[in-house]
């Protein structure tokens, strides 16, 4: 690799020019057509559910999701149903929103706090604890669910939102991401704060946290999406129907003897809307947040 770099210092300019000349437009065309076709295939399931929202629910269950529909049978009935007679649907929606906002705020604060300790200080057992963060990242939650479920039942915390959030406030992935971000902040800020007599925690809250906004945005999006879609742990914890979140509620509609398939299809579609709107508005932060950790510094 060293040899390659050495050589390239002399030849960078001609190399770029050569490549630009060679770029055939036929290849570009084939590539574009291929990409568009792949993109459309990827969008098929979403388009299918969109079409499904205009169809009779029992019809969708009977015929499957399809684009082979008689245009005359499409109607806005499901939309009317959603906004007039959807039973607990908006209750689930509000519950999910409340839980997501609370859990994300808590996760950002706690995880940034922990990450700051790892990024800004030297201490004896640091390596050991940081390896624990990495290990926690490789243990899937599915393996913890049973003992955690037993423990939560014993502690009498079942059926509460607190217990849905509490085990995940110090989130390993979020800690990892914030730590990377903090490592890039000049230590002079800390020294300046100490000179001015600010406490160690004051430096974190008043000097460092305010300049962490881009990292906060990316992590808010990642954690927000995970909370909004969270299914398994709430499924184990929640008992009372009035506390159900969207994924739990939608799942209860998917029963063989259900008679509420209209609400199932439109409800599933509508649950995607907030995430899709946020994605269109903040695409960059989504991609940054979700790909966090892949490129290690």
């Amino acid at each position: 690799m060293a040899a390659l770099q050495e050589q390239d210092r002399v030849t960078t300019v001609p190399a770029t020019a050569a490549r630009r000349r060679r770029g055939p437009s036929a290849a570009a065309w084939i590539q574009s057509v291929f990409l568009v076709v792949m993109a459309l295939i990827s969008l098929v399931p979403l388009l299918a559910i969109l079409v499904g929202t205009f169809q009779d629910g029992n019809e969708v269950i009977r015929r499957g999701m399809t684009f082979d529909v008689d245009l005359g049978t499409l109607s806005l009935d499901n939309y009317v149903l959603l906004f007039t007679d959807s039973g607990p649907y908006f209750r689930w929606f509000a519950n999910t929103l409340l839980l997501t906002v609370g859990q994300v705020a808590g996760t950002l604060l706690v995880s940034a706090f922990v990450a700051y300790g790892f990024a800004m200080y030297e201490f004896r057992t640091k390596t050991l604890w940081f390896i624990m963060v990495l290990l926690v990242m490789t243990v899937p939650f599915e393996m913890l669910m049973l003992p955690l479920y037993v423990q939560v039942n014993d502690m009498g915390l079942a059926d509460t939102y607190v217990v849905i959030a509490l085990p995940f406030l110090a989130s390993a992935v979020t800690i990892f991401f914030f730590r990377q971000y903090f490592l890039g902040i000049p230590k002079e800020i800390l020294e300046a704060g100490r000179m001015d007599g600010v406490s160690e925690f004051g430096i974190f809250f008043r000097l460092v946290l305010p300049i962490t906004k881009p990292a906060m945005a990316a992590m808010a999006i990642l954690n927000g999406m995970l909370c909004w879609n969270n299914f398994l742990w709430p499924l184990l914890v929640l008992r009372s129907p009035e506390k159900f979140t969207l994924p739990i509620g939608l799942n209860t509609l998917l029963t063989p003897y259900g008679n509420n398939y209209e609400l199932l299809i439109i409800g599933a579609f509508f649950s995607l809307i907030p995430v899709l709107i946020l994605f269109l508005a903040f695409q960059r932060f989504f991609i940054e947040g979700i790909t966090a950790g892949a490129v290690k510094g």
Partner: protein
């Protein structure tokens, strides 16, 4: 108090305290408890020590081996599909030909499925793979000259549906991982190589892949555990934890059935312990072999 707030020596421990507490209360204690319960018979809150009986039962349990086979098969196939395909797509859009707008549209379209919950994805794919000849996948099958397929009744066709969900949801994410890694590779490497007359494909093999190593390690690690811990995709696709001849049953599905549905906590804990050992063995040996721990600790 004031001294505590200003101590540079004690501050780091306060900062990492929430993690230490979480680690102890929600990881170490439950995992320890799992090990203890796996040596017990737990009935109505009464635990009796029975040694390794649960593990012996597990060893002789045909359904457990089937679930383990299903999980391993799914994990291997997701690795085979979800590393090379996203890698190739990332290389394609990282190339300097083609329109930036089409690439942007493509990236966004591939990424959107990752935003859906497993519940919504499961509902949609269950209905796309429905038995009716009008369902989308059966229309595709018809186009290729097959009759309507009863996808979710057959072992292999059911697996195809599960893999379709995985491909749909994760191709875009993995592609973005690889793309981010590729954009961190200095373009000079490629320029020098093309001067030397190396073909695009050779450049990909000898420059892109070696430089993407940390990203590939990361994606393999999360894919291994994601694959072995798969449960909800099957749970949603089959509208519950039961599938024909248990064809969609995974290790976590079996743990859920035994522990949550049948309340056989001791036996289910043994299932969990075996799964944990398998995942940790694969991942830790992989991370050590790839030198990740050494790099992070440094």
């Amino acid at each position: 108090m004031k001294q505590l707030l200003y101590s540079k020596r004690l501050a780091p421990y306060f900062f990492i305290l929430p993690f230490l507490v979480t680690l102890a209360v929600f990881w170490v204690v439950p995992l320890g408890r799992s090990f203890v319960m796996s040596t017990q018979e737990v009935l109505y809150g009464q635990a009796t020590f029975i040694g390794l009986d649960n593990y012996e039962r597990l060893w002789q349990d045909r359904i457990f081996w089937q679930a383990l086979f299903n999980s391993l098969r799914y994990m291997v196939l997701t690795l085979v599909l979800l590393i090379p395909i996203p890698l190739a797509l990332a290389a394609l859009i990282n190339s300097n030909i083609g329109s930036a707008r089409i690439k942007g549209f493509f990236k966004a379209s591939m990424f959107v499925p990752a935003l859906t919950s497993v519940v919504v994805a499961g509902i949609v794919f269950r209905l796309i793979f429905a038995e009716s000849d009008t369902a989308i996948m059966n229309q595709v099958a018809e186009f290729f000259g097959f009759g309507p397929v009863r996808w979710l009744r057959g072992d292999i066709t059911g697996l195809v549906a599960l893999l379709a969900i995985a491909l749909w949801r994760w191709t875009g994410v993995n592609m973005m991982y690889f793309l981010a890694g590729m954009q961190a590779i200095p373009t000079e490497y490629y320029e020098a190589a093309s001067i030397d007359g190396a073909s695009r494909f050779r450049q990909f093999l000898h420059i892109t892949v070696p430089n993407l190593r940390p990203t590939i390690v990361y994606v393999v690690t999360i894919s291994v555990y994601g694959g072995l811990a798969m449960f909800l995709e099957s749970f949603m696709l089959y509208a519950g934890n039961n599938s024909p001849n248990n064809q969609g049953l995974t290790v976590v599905g079996y743990l859920y059935r035994k522990g949550i549905e049948e309340n056989d906590l001791g036996f289910a804990s043994a299932v969990g312990v075996v799964l944990l050992v398998i995942v940790m063995t694969i991942n830790i040996s992989y991370l050590v072999a790839s030198g990740t721990f050494r790099k992070e600790a440094a």
